[in-house]
């Protein structure tokens, strides 16, 4: 009756006993041996759930982390967050593998091999934080004391609002450098371009999927990788089932993605022509009288012109003779009288510039034109237009695929948001994002003379100049200007949560940048491509180890929240968060410079100058509103802010503008001439520049030599390129092909046949910029003139699981911009292929 156990069984049972056989499976306790063990070893686990945030992408979803005996063992969503519906996407779970990643940087390191290169071993030497700070502070002092603080550049990537406010903002300002650069222009700045031109709101939109009947996405794979993914997929169930009515979903993309597989219609377009499709649709909506009358307005009933006709300009004003019936007050006889009336042909309600747009451009942009540019059949364009306009409320959503294009990016997003105006969706289902305000910082940022002069120097990225008229940042341009010392050299760089040597188009230039800058400090969790060129490494805390606050980027539905970042466990290694780094730098430099001291001493208000104190001070308004105060906020983890639709916009007319006076004013302020406009790759001239219009995509490389367009897409598990050392992410990286641990060069089978390439062949993919090797994947879901590769792979550093898997298309992507917003173009490099 006694079970004979072999040694390994006994080990198993012992292990089971230690973890608490009581929790093993209660019915297993029938077995006498296990029951005996359970009785002898009763272990109580100390368990708690801590609210925190996943900030692996800008969505910043609230999470709850299960901590058992001081170890994080499970992540779930935070049910207190309305906009996420308490959910999280798969990537949030990766926090565990990232937290406990054995390849994490655990201590500050200094480079001892002065030679820098891909194959050079930096020969890192571990140092203490004290040693690290001593060096960093002395270098910062050196720059400042010789009057050139602007030669210190800050390069930020993923961030939370707290460290952005303190390190990226305050520290740079108090120190005296204007050169704080974010990754945003590698992200999606041109997505904001359209909203800005139309509404004066340089921001993403918040889409209320729950209330839409029709969704058409132009190049934004909303179920995989378009912020906020969690909000998007949490809505999906209701959007398709369980809501009011099943919404139709159309995906416009040269590649059949997982998102496209969920669509009712997949509409492949020629790369870079999404705006043409949108404009063709807009033309049909106008000529067929399908626009939303309550938002856009309508023709005056007395106007002789009562509709939009292809090719015909619509007069702005009208004069007409109208018959009116008049009653004689005495005789009560009714007579018909002719009266002259005049007025605006079309009376716009919440929009402005519609007739102008029609007359200078749209009247001639027919579905035929659109069909010719996009490759989409004319009848399909008409059908989509009718569906979109009739199935209101409808959402036209756009993203990088349609707007990360040179010269035309912002105009592409402008064309697409115009569809949302024509369907009356603005501030109904295509909304501004509710603002989240924090309590005033406890002390103001002080600038001494050195800081004042330093921050007045021109920014290295040339943002807000004629070259980049409305850009907040031109990330990729920083590389070229550092390399040419324009307008002055950069002598020190501090980069955190960024890896431009992997993620920027023309990534190899950044390797040269980090080789050139005399002192590079990289604050990072992993030794990445940027790190191996750095002079000093500082170990960063991962997402759930630090204090911070933030608000999700791009919301689904009508709420947004302030979320609290909290450490869920005791710090694992000798790491610092970027917020703590900023506080420490401020404190140490404050010992020498009174101006800096004034900016940092007391920054935590009543709560101490620590990361926790600063966060507590800044979120005071949030948690004081809760009955349980700070403790309740810590337990809840998030607040919810709701939304009031706007009725007025930040444009001169206060309306949605189909003729962008904001863009016009910006160009006028910079005194942009036609030559200047030509230089920033805009082909349109005159009034056409300021209306939604189509610019032909500009490619790098001739079609004869480089027949295919290279597009890179982001899968769900990409997570901004930082998930690649996580086995959970790698092993299921490409679900559409059931392939993990790599990326593939995806080609249409007919195209591959032309080049003698079979599925699984190793091929070279070459552009004017360079050449990479990849494995071919033949798939009918790829446009015949396109080669698609998943972003994120091709690391040559970053850890044992990330290294040498697949290839990085950024290495062969050329450097161009949507100049208005500074956004890097990602999809306009042409390539050729051959069997390796």
């Amino acid at each position: 009756m006694a079970v004979e156990l072999k040694i390994n069984r006994r080990r198993f049972l012992k292990a089971a006993g230690l973890t608490g056989a009581a929790t093993l499976g209660y019915l297993s306790l029938e077995r006498p041996v296990l029951r005996a063990l359970a009785q002898s070893t009763e272990v109580t686990n100390e368990e708690k759930w801590v609210s925190s945030v996943c900030i692996q992408c800008p969505a910043g979803c609230g999470t709850k982390v299960r901590v058992v005996n001081g170890r994080a063992v499970k992540i779930t969503g935070n049910p207190n967050s309305i906009w996420t519906r308490g959910q999280i996407c798969p990537r949030a779970h990766l926090n565990l593998q990232i937290l406990y990643d054995p390849d994490r940087l655990k201590t500050p390191m200094v480079r001892t091999n002065p030679k820098k290169g891909r194959d050079e071993d930096p020969q890192w030497k571990a140092i203490t934080w004290e040693e690290a700070f001593t060096t960093i502070v002395s270098k910062l002092k050196e720059l400042r004391d010789k009057g050139t603080p602007e030669r210190f550049a800050l390069l930020r990537g993923r961030y939370d609002a707290a460290s952005a406010d303190l390190l990226y903002g305050r520290f740079a300002k108090a120190y005296g450098t204007p050169n704080s650069f974010s990754h945003s222009a590698l992200c999606a700045e041109s997505t904001k371009g359209g909203r800005w031109m139309a509404l004066g709101d340089y921001d993403y939109s918040g889409f209320d999927w729950y209330n839409a009947n029709y969704i058409i996405s132009f190049g934004a794979p909303i179920l995989e990788s378009n912020r906020p993914v969690t909000g998007n997929i949490a809505a999906w169930g209701e959007v398709r089932r369980g809501g009011k009515a099943r919404a139709k979903f159309v995906m416009v993309d040269p590649r059949y993605s997982v998102t496209a597989s969920k669509a009712d219609d997949w509409i492949p377009v020629n790369p870079g022509t999404d705006a043409a499709l949108a404009l063709g649709m807009a033309h049909v909506i106008l000529t067929e009288g399908l626009w939303d009358k309550s938002f856009v307005g309508d023709f005056d009933k007395n106007s002789p012109v009562k509709k939009f006709e292809t090719g015909k300009a619509t007069p702005e004003d009208f004069k007409a003779e109208v018959e009116k019936e008049v009653e004689d007050p005495k005789t009560k006889a009714k007579t018909k009288v002719k009266e002259n009336v005049e007025g605006k042909t079309f009376k716009e309600a919440s929009t402005s510039g519609l007739i102008r747009w029609w007359n200078v451009y749209l009247k001639d942009f027919t579905p035929d034109t659109a069909a010719e540019k996009t490759g989409v059949p004319k009848d399909t364009i008409k059908r989509l237009a009718r569906e979109f306009a009739k199935a209101k409320p409808s959402i036209a959503v756009w993203g990088r695929g349609s707007d990360a294009w040179p010269g035309s990016g912002s105009f592409n997003s402008y064309a697409i948001i115009s569809l949302d105006a024509l369907s009356g969706s603005i501030e109904k289902v295509v909304n501004h994002r509710p603002s989240v305000t924090y309590s005033d910082e406890a002390i103001k940022t002080e600038q001494d003379k050195v800081a004042e002069e330093g921050t007045k120097k021109p920014k290295l990225d040339e943002s807000k100049t004629k070259k980049f008229p409305f850009a907040s940042v031109v990330t990729n341009n920083v590389a070229d200007n550092i390399l040419k010392d324009y307008p002055y050299p950069i002598e020190m760089a501090l980069a955190w949560w960024s890896n431009f040597a992997h993620s920027a188009p023309g990534s190899r230039r950044w390797e040269d940048v980090f080789k050139k800058v005399p002192f590079v400090v990289h604050h990072t969790t992993h030794i990445s491509e940027t790190s191996i060129y750095a002079d000093m490494l500082l170990p960063a805390k991962t997402y759930i180890e630090k204090w911070g606050y933030g608000h999700p980027a791009g919301v689904s539905g009508l709420t947004r929240g302030a979320t609290l970042y909290q450490p869920v466990i005791d710090p694992l290694y000798n790491c610092m968060s970027e917020l703590e780094l900023g506080l420490e730098l401020g404190k140490r430099l404050g010992e020498t410079y009174p101006g800096i001291k004034k900016s940092f001493e007391g920054i935590g208000g009543n709560y101490g100058d620590t990361a926790e104190g600063y966060v507590r001070a800044r979120t005071e308004g949030q948690w004081k509103a809760l009955p349980g105060g700070w403790d309740e906020f810590r337990q809840k983890g998030t607040t919810n802010h709701s939304y009031k639709p706007k009725t007025e916009f930040a444009t001169p007319s206060k309306k949605f503008e189909f003729y962008s006076d904001n863009l016009k004013a910006t160009f006028e302020k910079l005194k942009m001439t036609d030559e200047d406009i030509e230089k920033i790759l805009i082909k349109a001239r005159g009034d056409v520049v300021y209306v939604p219009h189509f610019e032909d995509p500009i490619f790098i490389g001739s079609e004869e030599t480089y027949p295919l367009s290279l597009i890179t897409y982001k899968t769900m598990l990409n997570q901004e390129g930082r998930s690649l050392n996580s086995q959970w992410a790698q092993e299921i990286y490409l679900p559409l092909y059931g392939t993990g641990w790599t990326n593939l060069a995806e080609i249409n089978p007919k195209t591959a046949e032309k080049y003698g390439i079979k599925d699984g062949d190793d091929i070279y993919v070459e552009s004017e910029v360079g050449r990479i090797k990849a494995k071919a994947k033949l798939f009918h879901g790829i446009h015949p003139k396109v080669l698609a590769m998943a972003h994120g792979q091709g690391h040559f550093a970053y850890g044992r699981f990330a290294k040498n898997r697949g290839s990085n298309a950024n290495e062969i992507t050329g450097v161009m911009y949507d100049h208005i917003t500074g956004m890097s173009a990602y999809y306009n490099t042409r390539v050729k292929i051959e069997k390796a």
Partner: protein
């Protein structure tokens, strides 16, 4: 008797694979390395596959589909086990594994028509984020989805509700951000799972084999 079943709504599923990862997280399933992966050693108790109805460009049609152990009423893996390590538990109906009996012959893996049984070729290291509620398996044993029996039994012992929409459910069901899955007792006509099954067209994978899977798919 209680008979647990799971319903997966393929219309809602977006192929995000939160179910895949949360299952590995909950059950401390071994992660593959690139070398193991190349040998097709891919322990994914919950796996997302893509079914193609591929025409030629642009008439492409693919659908994502999560598959797990089907906890069949007529499981082919049970009768082939020479040591009675695999068994169908009466209370609940889930097909489970007695790891301490498994000799690693892999006969059950061959018998399973769904490919959802996995062999521990290597010894899994003790990792910090392992779930203390689920013991790590030793090298040499077969493992698979358990319908998170540890969660269900714990709930039963603590008198908590089990089953959708607001009771304790397996990790995959809880983690799905779209609400694709419904779990519960099919022997209870009032359960969410019974009602949902009766209300929509559904199918099981390879029902023609007579395995009587307890995982149902909604179109």
């Amino acid at each position: 008797m209680v008979k647990y079943a799971m319903i997966i709504d393929l219309d809602k599923c977006v192929g995000c694979q939160a179910c895949v990862i949360s299952c590995k997280e909950e059950n401390s399933v071994l992660s593959s390395t690139p070398e193991e992966y190349a040998k097709k050693r891919r322990p994914l108790w919950n796996r997302v596959i893509t079914e193609y109805k591929e025409g030629e460009y642009p008439n492409v049609n693919a659908s994502v589909m999560p598959i797990i152990c089907n906890h069949c009423e007529n499981p082919p893996c049970v009768p082939v086990c020479p040591v009675d390590a695999t068994y169908k538990r009466e209370d609940g109906g889930m097909v489970l594994q007695r790891y301490e009996r498994c000799i690693g012959c892999k006969y059950c893996m061959i018998a399973c028509p769904y490919g959802q049984r996995f062999f521990n070729f290597t010894q899994q290291p003790e990792l910090e984020y392992h779930n203390p509620d689920v013991p790590r398996r030793e090298a040499g044993v077969v493992e698979k989805c358990t319908f998170c029996v540890h969660r269900l039994d714990k709930a039963k012992a603590e008198n908590k509700k089990i089953g959708s929409p607001d009771g304790v459910v397996p990790a995959c069901t809880e983690a799905c951000p779209v609400g694709t899955r419904t779990f519960g007792d099919l022997d209870d006509p009032d359960s969410a799972v019974s009602k949902l099954l009766a209300s929509r067209r559904n199918y099981q994978i390879r029902a023609d084999l007579g395995t009587e899977p307890q995982v149902y798919y909604l179109d």
